[in-house]
């Protein structure tokens, strides 16, 4: 969100980004940066392939501008992404914007096994049909269905009339979803890490467990 807002259509070279857990975190950053700005490409020093160093990412040139991102900026961005306070009831989770990868499906399954969601609270997960077939072949889909997981293939839940639980807040781990859903489908949104989403689904209320 911050990168998109501040960089507009420029190509940012991000320094100091913590080493990502997996490529999916970079995918989420790219989607949010393109949602809040017009960022089509970003480099993260020491992380993305064309940025082994700051100088390499800039091709030896000097940046047009250098912007600092402070902890206050991050707190402010998190506050703007979440429309409802902690402790508010939630009626559904919407995950998978951008589409869930196989790795993300595996993480979701692990988290759900540890922390069972409240019965009747649906978890919508957008994914590509090839990815869905891959996890079906692994036998994961049936197990996840028992946790209330509904896969949504080849579209996003913020553009289609799929989510029925629009009365309470909906929690998502996607900055992109948090931005588009209120305008498109008229819901209130809470934003958090996937761990927060699953813990909240278990409690039926917005709780934060990630650092």
């Amino acid at each position: 969100m911050i990168v998109g807002h501040r960089c507009r259509e420029l190509v940012p070279v991000i320094e100091g980004l913590p080493h990502p857990r997996d490529e999916d975190q970079l995918k989420a950053l790219g989607a949010a940066a393109a949602t809040f700005g017009a960022v089509g490409l970003f480099h993260a020093v020491g992380i993305t392939p064309e940025a082994p160093s700051r100088a390499a990412a800039l091709h030896g040139g000097t940046p047009e501008a250098t912007l600092d991102i402070t902890p206050d900026d991050i707190r402010d961005a998190l506050g703007r992404l979440s429309m409802v306070p902690e402790g508010s009831p939630i009626s559904a989770l919407c995950l998978g914007t951008p589409h869930f990868s196989q790795t993300e499906w595996h993480r979701l399954a692990q988290l759900l096994r540890r922390s069972r969601p409240k019965p009747g609270l649906p978890i919508y997960v957008n994914t590509a049909r090839a990815t869905l077939e891959a996890i079906r072949a692994e036998g994961l889909l049936d197990e996840l269905a028992a946790f209330g997981v509904t896969p949504v293939v080849d579209t996003c839940t913020y553009v289609t009339a799929i989510v029925r639980e629009l009365d309470g807040a909906i929690m998502t781990n996607s900055g992109k979803w948090a931005h588009y859903a209120p305008g498109n489908i008229g819901c209130r949104v809470a934003f958090g890490e996937l761990e927060d989403c699953i813990a909240s689904a278990s409690a039926g209320l917005i709780v934060r467990v990630s650092g």
């Binding site: 259509e9 393109a34 949602t35 809040f36 700005g37 017009a38 913020y158 588009y180 209120p182 305008g183």
Partner: protein, 136 residues
């Protein structure tokens, strides 16, 4: 006063400037049936783009905005012209698709936007060859 620019979509138009305080994703940002800005977080929420010359620093967000713009042009709810300080390929594609599918021309010029005020009367002329002029 005349200002030279570059034409990204041909056509000519005149109308009152709607100067966006920050870039807007048309997907999720306007109601295509009415042209009203509906993005909850946008400072210009509630204004209507229809019939105006949309002025912005650049584009933003979803590539689905091309389809939203083309559909708004078809419905007559789109801006009549677009002025950007930095080119946005998503908006350009929307204009070009509307030209091709519907024969409707919403010109898009890229030129400096300093000094353009909300409600100023603007005229745009964008030639197919790429030269363009903004009059304010």
């Amino acid at each position: 006063m005349k200002r030279e620019g570059r034409a990204y979509a041909a056509g000519s138009a005149s109308g009152l400037a709607l100067v966006l305080r920050e870039p807007l994703s048309l997907f999720g940002g306007i109601a295509v049936e009415t042209g009203e800005i509906i993005d909850n977080a946008h400072p210009d929420r509630g204004k209507t783009v229809s019939g105006r010359i949309l002025v912005a620093a650049g584009g933003r967000g979803s590539s689905s905005s091309s389809a939203v713009l083309a559909e708004a042009i078809r419905l007559g709810t789109a801006p009549v012209g677009i002025v950007l300080a930095h080119v946005d390929p998503i908006l350009v594609v929307g204009c070009l698709v509307a030209q091709t599918l519907y024969g409707r021309y919403v010109p898009l010029i890229v030129c400096p936007i300093e000094g353009i005020g909300e409600g100023d009367l603007l005229a745009i002329r964008c030639d197919p060859c790429g030269s363009a002029e903004l009059e304010l």
